[in-house]
């Protein structure tokens, strides 16, 4: 199906104009920069713009879509978003498995700069967090927003602008890293022009969300939307403040942050931890609060508790970033503040996890039989586990053992693999058949395979890195009778070998599961009958405009 045929004639004209504008913007960037990462990125934008010109142009005189479409949900962007989610999952996870393997076989690093660990590691983090997670959030938010509001998206151009623009940002980011272009900020390595572009995309996203909510046919805004909106709004705020930078010139990729010294560190981790909070948690809780009740056929156990958890999470999370800077030049009280709020955060976090698990009470037979629901159940369990672990690791004396060790990496992956990715797969397996006009995925047994590979991979990965981290922490603080360190740093690195092998195996299992999911979705899309007769939440028709 050509997505341009879902647009009306006037929408195709707007899309055509935007595609030309993108091509011109790319040309100006490339011409202005002449060389380096920015010139390559300009050329990428220009080629994307030209491709879209031909793509839309090719369908320009196709018949207009059915006039009844205003009475249907607009799921073509969600379909594209899910595809990009899975493509980025494979890119990001492959990079992750590759760099994990390099830690076990460091001599396998090819003697080419772009394959170095330092350049590929942010390809993994950006590919997974923004590419995989971000596309999943955008795609599911469009789906959930429309169903919970019983309204079609406010317009048909913005969702495409948001998705294509966001993916251009991701592509600029990861290609920049392999060319050595980075502003050296954790989870925000992309340079200034990519950051500015993301602001434009994000403002459009927020505007679309608000405009669609304004057209809703439900008196109350369902809690999932609150989480999605918190995600969009707070990420905008974090992104802008953290990325304030002065470019060396408007024709060069390099820029310098306006923050200095310990303030730079504080801003970095205020951003960094709230990226975890609002990118990797809030939006995914929105996903959980919609797809878990829908899949289990049971309303959320306590809607009231979900409101309390929402405000608790929003209020507490924003303060916890300084727990990344224990025992540094950051004022002691600021570290204590971050630690205290991290511990308090456990209350709303467990309220959410408990609420999700209590919702399944009475539906355990479905959890047993339905791998899709099991993905969501495991997600809620890992959400509870990793938030407990996070609060625990933030306590200063615990942090003195864990900081700089692989325990932190294990913790992050228990959150990202066990919670974030599991809820994404649960949501995908629920919505892909729905938007394909089918009752179930093309290969139902493949979901079981995916589930066990994902759970097995996550457990192997996380348990290996718990062992690795605690071993490292203990080796670094072991003293002999003369007060000298018992182990050299290299000895602690050598002790990691079995764990690093295990993490590579666990990561590879998880990647294989993601590939199975991608193939299953592709098969489901291809089998799709051209009908939308499968039961869906009825939409309240718009009054004639």
């Amino acid at each position: 199906m050509n997505a341009a045929t879902t647009l009306s004639q006037s929408e195709r004209q707007v899309g055509f104009g935007l595609a030309i504008a993108l091509a011109v913007l790319g040309l100006v960037m490339a011409a202005g920069a002449k060389q380096g990462a920015m010139a390559v990125h300009g050329a990428m934008a220009m080629m994307l713009g030209m491709y879209l010109v031909f793509y839309i142009g090719g369908s320009f005189y196709q018949p207009e879509p059915n006039a009844d479409r205003v009475n249907q949900y607009y799921d073509a962007p969600t379909r594209f978003g899910v595809t990009m989610t899975l493509i980025w999952a494979m890119i990001g996870m492959t990079a992750g498995v590759w760099v994990a393997a390099l830690m076990y076989w460091p001599e396998a690093t090819p003697a080419v700069p772009w394959t170095s660990y330092g350049r590929l590691r942010p390809v993994h983090t950006t590919g997974v967090i923004f590419g995989f997670g971000g596309n999943a959030l955008i795609a599911t938010s469009f789906y959930v927003l429309q169903r919970t509001s019983r309204a079609r998206l406010a317009d048909s151009i913005s969702p495409w602008f948001i998705l294509i623009g966001f993916n251009l940002f991701c592509a600029w980011a990861v290609t920049g890293y392999v060319m050595g272009s980075t502003q050296s900020k954790e989870y925000a390595e992309a340079e200034w022009y990519a950051d500015l572009w993301l602001v434009v995309v994000w403002v459009t996203y927020f505007a679309l969300y608000i405009r669609t909510l304004a057209r809703r046919h439900e008196p109350h805004i369902y809690v999932a939307n609150w989480y999605y909106m918190a995600f969009i709004l707070v990420v905008a705020m974090l992104h802008i403040v953290n990325n304030l930078a002065l470019p060396v010139s408007f024709g060069a990729a390099k820029s310098f942050t306006i923050w200095a010294g310990v303030q730079d560190a504080m801003i970095q981790w205020w951003y960094g931890h709230n990226a975890v909070a609002f990118f990797l948690t809030a939006g995914f809780l929105g996903m959980l609060y919609y797809f878990l009740p829908v899949r289990s056929g049971r309303p959320i156990w306590s809607y009231r508790l979900s409101i309390i958890s929402f405000w608790g999470i929003v209020f507490f999370y924003i303060w916890v970033g300084s727990h990344h800077l224990h025992y540094t030049a950051l004022p002691y009280w600021t570290q204590t503040l971050g630690m205290t709020f991290s511990v308090m955060l456990l209350v709303p976090s467990w309220a959410s996890a408990g609420n999700a698990i209590a919702t399944l009470n009475g539906a355990w037979h479905k959890v047993r039989d339905d791998a899709t629901l099991r993905f969501m159940f495991v997600a809620a369990v890992f959400y509870g586990l990793s938030t407990f672990e996070g609060s625990f690791l933030a306590i200063r004396p615990v942090n003195s053992l864990s900081h700089y060790t692989d325990w932190t990496v294990g913790h992050v992956h228990s959150g990202t693999l066990g919670w974030v990715a599991m809820i994404i797969f649960g949501a995908i397996y629920t919505l892909v058949p729905q938007i394909s006009g089918r009752e179930e995925m093309a290969w139902p047994h493949a979901i079981e395979w995916h589930f066990w590979l994902a759970v097995g991979g996550t457990l192997i990965y996380v348990i290996a890195l718990w062992n690795a981290g605690i071993t490292q922490g203990l080796m670094w603080r072991a003293y002999d009778d003369h007060g000298a360190l018992s182990y050299s740093f290299m000895e602690s690195v050598q002790a990691m070998a079995p764990y690093y092998l295990l993490r590579t195996i666990g990561g590879a299992m998880f990647l294989i599961g993601a590939v199975i999911c991608a193939l299953n979705c592709r098969a489901t899309y291809r089998l799709a009958p051209m009908s939308t007769e499968v039961s869906d939440r009825p939409l309240n028709p718009q009054p004639a405009e």
């Binding site: 109350h220 829908v294 409101i307 009825p538």
Partner: protein, 55 residues
């Protein structure tokens, strides 16, 4: 404004603001008058429900 004044202000108004907000949220969420409305919202995402105007 001196640093000390700022600290006093932060310590006084921070907890009042946070606790005040928390209490308002609790009252709004657990007000018995809203129970029925929240139960209905929780049910509303399950697809068997007909649209609002067609009940």
């Amino acid at each position: 404004m001196t640093y000390d004044t700022l600290v006093v202000l932060a310590k006084v108004f921070g907890p009042i603001w946070m606790m005040g907000f928390f209490i308002i949220v609790i009252i709004r969420a657990y007000n018995p008058k809203r129970r029925a409305a929240y139960d209905q919202v929780a049910q509303s995402v399950l697809s068997e429900q007909p649209p609002e105007g067609q009940k």
